[in-house]
Amino acid sequence: MAETLLTLSDVAVHHGEHVALQVASLEVYPGDVMALIGPNGAGKSTMLRVMGILQLPDHGTVRFRGENALDGNQLALRRRIATVFQEPLLLNASVYQNAALGLKLRGVRRDEIQRHLGPWLQRLGIAHLAARFARTLSGGEAQRTSLARALVLEPELLLLDEPFSALDPASREALVRDFQRIVRETGITTVLVTHDRHEAFALANRVGVLHQGHLLQLGSCENVFLRPETEAVAEIVGIENRLSGVVEVSDGDHATIKTNGAMIHAQAGLKTGTKVVACIRPEEVSLTLATCGPQDSNRLKGKVIAVSPGMTHHRISLDCGGFPLVALVERRGYSKLPLCEGDELTAVFSPETVHVIDDERAR
């Protein structure tokens, strides 16, 4: 196993009685791009502050390349890490002076600063703004300055706390693209806190899911987003259809799950009688007016409860006789399928798309 860059062990942060963070173990390896996702108040920002040695945990240890941050030279360790926050707070000075600040704080000579900073201002597309005052920048330009201020330090670990979420969609997409390129070119180890699942998918190779201060799951994007280990993770990663049930028939790698009012076929090797949660992503559900079709597919009759239109997909909520089911229908396909509330139709999804969580093991 590769040498770890940052190790959190048994870390806990309390706010009075409230547990803000409780993580048994987390390791960041060199070259990692790790996304931390979770709802508001899950402890993501707290975790990032602990990683950046900006806040000391009430319990546990933080090690940076094996060195204990709690009894070492914290300033020296802190200077090998750089943190960028959601809101770029710049000093009342020029873009160049702001971007140079971190190097200046480290006592780097003026000509050295210029040599290092130039390429980064270019890379982030703000070289032409160098002389502008920070107050006159747009949100995107300010965040680029804030990123330059951190990246020019060439930190061993870059921490980003929702760096793109305060930007308008156009500047956000442009900055995410630029950042993606920088990560690819430099291989900089990054931990990124985000609300946006697409951002996590686009940038990260590993994803950690935080909920109420606990790290519920840590793994590859595919595993976390498509194969969540618990129902809580499934909810956080956006699997809206979660049906509790019991395995009724098991046949090798095929299981039939009895849920409240329907039988669902899934590909899973589970024993008969196991309590499970069947997870179906809304985009895997297609809708049809036809009453018959391929036998091996899941076919559930339902009634439309609500239709909410979207840019690319329409979100359709169905009542399938006792349980709700949400389907995302592509807008183009939808025009051929005019739906009104109360319409009856059939929801179709294949057994391969059903992810089954073993509810007993997950607890």
Partner: protein
């Protein structure tokens, strides 16, 4: 009206003629109020920063005291400093009453809460997340303080000016603890009171004009120039 014109004429004569006594009084005013302001800054800025950034027991009480102190009437300060420094008072042995040192003490008590209070306000106006961001790019604790001071430079300068303005124009305390002794503790304000009382309006007007000119000049030098420079950094509104 004639009185006024006569006074202004005399004032110009005194100022341009470099009247020795007038200049001695002016110099003493500057020395006393300048030292008092300096001492107030040394005490008030660190206290103001601590009150804004650190939570410690007794903080709320201190803030309440500072806020009250910002409006302290100089006469009241003069009274209590007099009582303490009086020959038979608790600090009488130091023999400070009716000395410039006594005036400095009184003026520090007047200016110090103003400086501390305005420093606190200027640091509270900074975004609390700024400190975290500066630490996040590797600022040490002293560097952080310095950067925050630089960021709050304008309101801090206002604190300096308010402190100085408060003591250079103050008359009650100076009169009471200094005694307005000619050549020793007579400053611009106390001299103006004396000359007005004697009916020497021309000299009183001259002294007042010098006082006005002095505060104006210092304001111009410090505050206005920096404020104008900062204003250029704002985008044009309209």
């Amino acid at each position: 009206m004639e009185l006024l014109w006569q006074g202004i004429g005399k004032a110009i004569e005194l100022v341009l003629g470099f009247d020795a006594e007038v200049w001695a009084i002016t110099w003493l005013s500057l020395k006393i109020s300048g030292s008092a302001t300096l001492i107030s800054l040394l005490l008030g800025i660190p206290l103001g920063i601590a009150l804004a950034l650190v939570r410690f027991p007794g903080r709320n009480t201190t803030v309440a005291l500072i806020n009250t102190g910002m409006g302290l009437p100089p006469v009241v300060v003069g009274l209590f400093v007099s009582i303490f420094l009086w020959r038979s008072g608790p600090l009488g042995f130091m023999e400070l009453i009716y000395s410039p040192t006594a005036m400095v003490i009184a003026q520090v008590i007047i200016a110090f809460p103003i400086v501390a209070g305005l420093t606190m306000a200027s640091f509270q106006a900074l975004d609390p997340k700024l400190a975290l961001q500066l630490l996040g790019i590797g600022a040490s604790k002293p560097q952080l303080l310095w950067l925050l001071c630089k960021e709050a430079r304008l309101p801090l300068l206002a604190a300096v000016m308010a402190g100085f303005g408060g003591v250079i124009s103050e008359v009650g305390a100076s009169m009471m603890v200094g005694g307005n002794i000619r050549g020793q503790t007579r400053v611009l304000t106390t001299a103006t009171v004396l000359e007005t009382g004697k009916g020497n309006f021309d000299i009183a007007i001259a002294l007042s004009l010098i006082l006005l000119g002095l505060t104006f000049a210092i304001n111009i030098i410090l505050l206005t120039r920096i404020q104008q420079r900062e204003q250029l950094r704002w985008p044009k509104l309209s």
